[in-house]
Structures are given as C-alpha cells and as structure tokens.
C-alpha cells in the first residue's frame, strides 16, 4: 500500500463516525419524510400506510390556507431579514468608527444574541401584554396613546410584533459578523479614496460595501433560512394566533402533524421546507467555495 493510499484510508476512517451519525439522524429522516409524504399516515397508528400518490401535495397547492401561510412566512422573512441587515450594517459601521464606548456597545450586542429564543419570546409576550404590559404602560405614561391597546388581538399587527422580537434577537448576529468583516478592510483603501476627494458616503458605497459583499451574502443566506423556518418565537408569543395571523410554514407543519395528527400531510409540508433549504444551502456553498483559496 502506498503512502497516499494509506492516507486516504485513514481519512475515511476519521470521517466514518460522523458519516454514520449524520446518515442516521439527518439523511435517513429526510428520505423517510419524502416517502411518508406520499402516504396517509396517522399519528394514532404510527404505521406508514395507504399510498395516496401526490394528493398531499396537490391538496396543499390548491389550498388557500397554504398560500396565505407561504405569503405570511415570506413577509416575515423579508421584513425581519431586511431590517436586520440594514440595522446590523449601520451598527457595524458605527462600531468600526470607534465612537466613545464602542467596546461596551460590542460587548452589549452579545446579550440579546445569547438570551435563549424561548426566553426572548416569553419576555416580549409579557411586554406586549394587553392589560399589564410594559409597552402599554410606556405609551400611556408618555402620553402617546390614551388607553391600553390589546396588541396581540390583531393578526397583522401581531405578525409585526413577532418580527420585532425576532429583530431584537438577531440584529446582534448580523452586526457582529459584518463588523468583523469591516475590521479586515485596511484603512489605507479609504484614505486613498478620501485623498481623491470622495465623500464619506461615496467611500462607503464604492470602497467598503463591495468588499463586504461576501459577508453580506453569507449573513443573508443564513438569516433567510432561519427566518423562513421560524417556529419557536411564534409558539411562545402568539401560538400562531390570532385567527392564524402568525402561522408560518413551520407552524402549519407542526399543527398539521402534531395537533391534527396527519403525519403524511405534515411530511409533504416539511419536505417542501427542506427543498427550499437545500436550494439556499447550495447557493451558500457557491459563495463560500468561490472565496476558498484551495480546494
């Protein structure tokens, strides 16, 4: 056996445990979900049965609730990721300009990021409370509104309030990554542009933003995938209510599977989510692979 062959064998041995685990807990369940999505399996029986072909998928594609949910999830994703990106970028630029207290600001960003999602949800639910919530107390005491508003009784408003809680949790992640990327850009580049007479805004737009492209794309992909599958925070703040107003695609899958007990239909929904995720993963892989020096 040559040295190279031995190394190949050794490397296979090194990755084998991880491949076995990932095959068992990720690959197999995905394939099984795909198979189940063509059946009419019920939670009470736990035995795959009654092959129904594409009817689970067809049922959803002609179902208004499904399309409303897709629309709602897209809105959630678009608004939360959009705001997180803009606000995160602004905070990153602020920190990078080293104003007084920037170290404290950067340290503070870790706090919302580290607070568990469920605690974050419970906290905001309490802040939004119709009768005793801090948001109502603040608005009434400062004279901005006259009486307490039942925030979480209006579907579209509730969706936006859940988005606000998500933004609080996720902006730090975006800001910290973009700030780390900004820190790698040499000052000389911008100084040169400044000598050439470029304004601060022009320097940002034409010098720094292009160099941040890869970091921004990575953040966008990660956050889009996360936001599209949002579940935890919805579960705690609104339980999908009021009137389905905050039901996202993951929440609909949860309801279909574990509340209504339709494992087959739930599988078709969850498989659709994984298709979307895989497309995003491939996109992400392309970004990263292009920037990797060696293969």
């Amino acid at each position: 056996m040559t040295l190279r062959q031995r190394e190949v064998l050794a490397s296979l041995g090194f990755v084998l445990p991880s491949i076995l685990i990932i095959a068992a807990v990720s690959v197999f369940p995905i394939v099984a979900t795909f198979v189940l999505s063509f059946t009419e399996t019920k939670i009470a029986e736990l035995v795959p049965r009654d092959f129904v072909g594409l009817s689970n998928y067809a049922g959803y594609l002609s179902n208004a609730t499904f399309w409303d949910t897709i629309g709602r999830t897209s809105y959630f994703t678009f608004v939360s990721v959009g705001v997180e990106l803009l606000l995160g970028l602004a905070i990153a630029v602020l920190i990078q300009s080293h104003p007084p207290g920037w170290r404290f600001l950067r340290l503070s960003l870790i706090i919302p990021w580290a607070v568990p999602t469920i605690v974050n949800g419970a906290l905001w639910r309490w802040i939004y409370n119709a009768d005793y919530g801090a948001l109502n107390a603040l608005l009434v005491q400062s004279g901005l509104v006259e009486r307490y508003i039942p925030w979480l009784t209006r579907p579209f408003l509730s969706l936006n309030l859940v988005i606000l809680a998500d933004i609080w949790h996720s902006v730090p992640f975006v800001a910290l990554i973009l700030q780390a990327a900004l820190a790698t850009i040499p000052d000389e580049l911008e100084e040169a542009a400044a000598v050439d007479g470029a304004t601060a805004w022009q320097r940002f737009l034409h010098v720094r933003l292009p160099l941040l492209r890869a970091a921004i794309l990575v953040v966008l992909v990660i956050r889009t995938v996360e936001a599209f599958r949002v579940f935890d925070i919805v579960y705690v703040i609104t339980q999908g209510g009021p009137a389905f107003g905050t039901v996202t695609i993951s929440y609909l899958t949860y309801l279909e599977t574990f509340s209504y007990g339709n494992l087959g239909k739930g599988s078709s929904l969850s498989f659709l989510i994984s298709i979307f995720t895989l497309i995003m993963a491939l996109f992400y892989f392309r970004i990263f692979y292009r920037s990797e020096p060696r293969s």
Binding site: P29, A32, I110, I118
Partner: protein
C-alpha cells in the same frame, strides 16, 4: 481620517444611545419582573421600579417545598436536564467532530467536496423536516421522554455545525508543526492529539461554547419529544408558563433569567471566542 464634525459626533452618540436602549430596556424589564411581587407588576399605573423588591421568586423555584405552581416546583429538574443534554451533545460533537474536521482540513479525503456539501446541507436542514420519522421511531421504541432521544436528535444540527467550525480552526494550524511531528514518526491520530488539538485549543473552546448554546437553546425537538419531568428541558418549561399558567408571570420571568444565565455567562466570559467563532461558523476562517 478622523475629521468628524460636531454634528456627526452628536448623531453617532444618539445612535449609540438608541441601540443601547433597544438592547437593555427589555433585559432590564426581565430582571425587574423577576424580582417583583405579582401585585406590583399588575398595578396600574405601572411603577418602573416596584416598591417591593424581593428574591422570593428565586426562592420559590430554587428551594424545595416553597413552590407555588407545579411548573415552578419542577423547574430545577428541567435545568438539570438541559445541562445533561447540552453537555452530552457538546462532548459527542467535539470528539466525533475533531476526527472528521481533521480529515477535512488536512488529509487526502476522497469526495471532499461532496462531503462538504453534505455537511452544509444537513447543517441547514430545519428540524421540522426531520421530526416526523424521528418521532415515529422514538414513539415505537418507547423513547419519548428520554434525554438520550434529545441527545441523539440534537446531533442532527450540532454535529455538522461543529465539524464545519472545527475544520475552519484546524486549517489555521501551521503545517510546519505537523510536518515536524510526521517526520518524527508520529501517527495521524498522534498528530491530531499532540499537535492540532493543543494548537487549536481556542477553536475547541469556541466550538464547545457554540455547540452548548445551540443545544441549550433548542426548543422544537424538546417540545415534541419531551413532556414529563424526566426529560423536559428549560425552554419547554418556560413555554409551559405561558400556556397553562398564563398568569404566573413572576415565575416565568424568574425562569427566564435562570435559563438565560448559563449562556450569558459563557458568552460574556469567553467574549473574545464569540466573535471569532461567529466568523468561523459563518464564513470559514
């Protein structure tokens, strides 16, 4: 470069203060709610610094025999469950992940690219796409309400994440160190343990923290697979405060502080590992 006008300085200051307010106001309210009495929190008009501050809520949860609600009484046990599950997940991910990441970063791994895509794809697959077959298996095997079920299922997202991050750190270890060891006749495994792991120790710490936080934070699998005291984790217990015990607000906020404390302490103590870890986890070293 540092030619800033007074106006710019004021704008920056205002923005800094706004961001700090946005971060700290909810956190402050969480802390204040946890040391208030229920009567003070339900008073109108609301007083931002309640007249009666107390640690009774913490005593109710942490000391035996004083608890008001069932969830509060069992909260301590869920903390322990969370530590067991997150700790075990972290240990498995570090050991299995180090081997895989070493092959990925250093050895002639066939189909390396294919393996990388697989790692990335499985890392991003949402739990909801895996849960149904896993639930069928766990239910038929009588593994519902068992912490081991959580540890196994948590590997689905934690292991690919750990491999990805460790590989990024291992690639930063200078190859010369390794070559010296190889010439000395050290085996591959020996090189990993005697050269790579010690040199990449900060990366190991970083990966351990992130994996622990991921597992500590996990809610969906815990919600589906656990409902009794034997295996329920902290996030499930907190979600239950919002459901059945809709008015037990002080217990919920106190539970929230206790649940946030371990990840917050880890993140703040190891602050310098967090940013490097975020970057390694997202953008590859």
């Amino acid at each position: 470069m540092k030619r800033t006008t007074p106006l710019q300085r004021i704008l920056k200051l205002v923005f800094t203060i706004l961001v700090l307010l946005f971060i700290y106001a909810p956190v402050a309210w969480l802390l204040i709610s946890s040391i208030s009495t229920r009567a003070d929190l339900l008073a109108k008009p609301l007083r931002w610094i309640p007249p009666n501050l107390t640690f009774q809520n913490y005593r109710d949860i942490l000391l035996p025999g004083t608890a008001v609600s069932e969830v509060a009484a069992t909260f301590k046990r869920t903390l322990l469950n969370s530590f067991i599950v997150a700790g075990s997940t972290t240990l498995i991910c570090l050991s299995v992940g180090s081997l895989a990441a070493y092959a990925l970063a250093r050895l002639q791994l066939p189909f390396r690219r294919f393996y990388l895509v697989g790692i990335l794809a499985t890392r991003m697959i949402p739990e909801v796409s895996l849960v149904i077959p896993l639930y069928i298996i766990a239910a038929r095997a009588g593994m519902i309400n068992n912490p081991i079920t959580l540890i196994i299922t948590y590997l689905s997202f934690a292991l690919p994440f750990a491999i990805w991050m460790l590989a990024a750190f291992f690639e930063t270890v200078p190859r010369e160190l390794e070559d010296a060891a190889t010439i000395d006749g050290t085996t591959r495994l020996g090189t990993l343990f005697r050269v790579i792991l010690p040199v990449a120790a900060p990366g190991l710490v970083s990966t351990a923290i992130f994996t622990f936080l991921l597992a500590w934070d996990e809610f969906f699998f815990a919600l589906i697979f656990t409902s009794t005291i034997e295996a329920k984790t902290v996030p499930v217990a907190i979600a239950e405060f919002t459901g059945r015990y809709a008015v037990d607000i002080t217990a919920m906020m106190t539970g929230g502080v206790l649940a946030a404390l371990p990840p917050l302490l880890l993140a703040l103590l190891f602050q310098r590992y967090i940013v490097s870890g975020l970057v390694a986890g997202a953008v590859k070293g």
